[in-house]
Symmetry: C2
Subunit: 324 residues, 2 copies
């Protein structure tokens, strides 16, 4: 792999104004096949998730958990966890329980976000949302059960890793989903709804917490399981923060440009709910440039790993260039 950094942001001319022609360009000289990679990893994760929850009495709670957990989706979070573990010298086997737990946590956040008291959404991943199928009370409980099971699953299913490292992973997951992470982002998001004067700083807080925290936990936890050095954990952390924010900017853009069918969830919800978005604050073009710039920064963090970083590089590209 050869990576040429054509443009350096740190010495930016033109008073910080960025034009399209000035965009950072990475030329990746490789035949890495991201589509096959994603398909193969997704299949692996689907199988592990399918095996993670058995239906026993009382059946409807397990069915509700499985309904949302196995509703498809790109499985980016578990894929990121496996990729950072492998890049750090670990195996898929040691990371798969944590990868599943990350998807359980993500699913919990979607189930609770979709509730009538929250975003009140009827569709998710092209299907009815959990509470539309099972009712609100079961949806709340299915989220609670997935969240607690995620921690139990990591604690009981992780093999061939030092207990101390498993504890670090659990701490990192807990922090990512709690008030200092995902929940905190959601709180500010809800509080900002309908406000016309949301600052870019607030929007950044929302996104880095609501989306970024868990993505960071994905990459960090995989690396912890593989005994990555502190310096590398920090690289992964910055990589994840950049793609986390880029991911959400792209999400904001897609909410405007994509159809409900393409998204598998209701499009145009942000405008309807008068939500603050990057396109709303910066405009569409600057938002695209910002996302591209974050992608640039994310990939720069991984240059030190050489070819081994190809999957995480390609994942970053995929996240920014996705159409749903």
């Amino acid at each position: 792999m050869r990576i040429d950094k054509v443009y350096n942001h740190d010495a930016m001319p033109n008073n910080g104004l960025i034009t399209n022609s000035m965009l950072p360009q990475f030329k990746i000289d490789t035949k890495f096949d991201i589509s096959s990679y994603l398909a193969e990893r997704k299949a692996l994760i689907e199988k592990a998730l399918d095996n993670s929850i058995r239906i026993v009495y009382p059946e409807n709670i397990y069915e509700a958990m499985r309904y949302s957990l196995l509703a498809g989706g790109k499985r980016l979070r578990p894929i990121l966890c496996l990729a950072s573990c492998e890049l750090s010298g670990g195996t898929i086997e040691i990371a798969i329980p944590t990868a599943c737990a990350l998807e359980m946590i993500h699913t919990m956040s979607l189930i609770h976000d979709d509730l009538p008291a929250m975003d009140n959404d009827d569709y998710r991943r092209g299907k009815w949302t959990n509470h539309k199928v099972y009712g609100e009370s079961i949806a709340i409980l299915a989220g609670d059960a997935l969240l607690s099971y995620a921690f139990e699953f990591v604690a009981t299913q992780t093999k061939n890793v030092l207990p101390q490292q498993i504890l670090q992973v659990i701490a990192s997951l807990g922090r990512a989903v709690g008030a200092a992470g995902l929940v905190g982002g959601q709180v500010v998001d809800l509080a900002s709804e309908g406000m016309s004067d949301v600052s870019e700083e607030t929007l950044r807080f929302i996104h880095t917490h609501k989306t970024g925290s868990l993505l960071e936990a994905c990459v960090i936890s995989g690396a912890i399981l593989a005994s990555a050095s502190q310096a590398n954990l920090q690289r992964f952390s910055r990589y994840a923060q950049n793609i986390g924010l880029a991911f959400q900017i792209v999400d904001d853009i897609l909410d405007i440009t994509a159809t409900t069918e393409e998204l598998g969830k209701t499009a145009g919800k942000d405008i309807e709910a008068k939500k603050a978005t990057y396109p709303g604050i910066l405009g569409m073009e600057k938002s695209r440039i910002q996302a591209q710039r974050l992608l640039d920064n994310a990939k720069a963090e991984l240059e030190v790993f050489g070819e081994k970083a190809l999957p995480l590089m390609a994942l970053a590209d995929f996240i920014i260039n996705r159409s749903n």
Copy 2:
């Protein structure tokens, strides 16, 4: 301490019919002062809980978490955890983070149970319920944040315990609150609401899961932290299962006999919601006998520990004889 078992259930005459005069009687020849013990332990736990959550931005989620976590209550769960740890040769210090986590989990379950989509209750511990003060969305998120923080707290705050044992505690907490525990019990409870033909077996499932699982985790986790033997863990487990069920039978009885003021939560809710209860199925007198019998069994499990078991014995008595 001298414990005389006056009546043995295992050789029960009279075709299993129990009369008041046949009730098991433990005569505890001791001056153990449960009131002082509870007050001292409660103060210790309140302080630790108060220190466990700092208010930072976004303030309202931390305030909502603290509002319910510090709303009083008997703190029986953390007290049970500390007591079983000490009985097993451990210190308060090694168990206090887990004790706090257990109260966080319990509080989460109360916040979510009280939601309009669930039990729709306005009062809890003599105060407005969380969603009445902060709104439904924040109440859902405060529960989520408390649940995830509980696991993070155990993982990061437990000192002088082998990591492997901390993992066992985390697994035990996860199992206790998830679909195989508290959530499963709540699901069957909700499904049974308004049904006139709930069996004693179903009611037992509800109570052993909705209440018993977490009480069991309290006692077990304290013992795990102190490296208790498998045999003793099983003793604690049976002790907890018995007092868990007794606790809930007493709760059912109090819902009928106590006032809203005494309970600090709305009295008579079970009848209003047509909930299956022990008094409803067995009648008041047999329910009282059943509770007493479970208390008997619980205490019998601890006889082997001699005087060291006094706090857990007294706690069992307290749970059955409480008036709120």
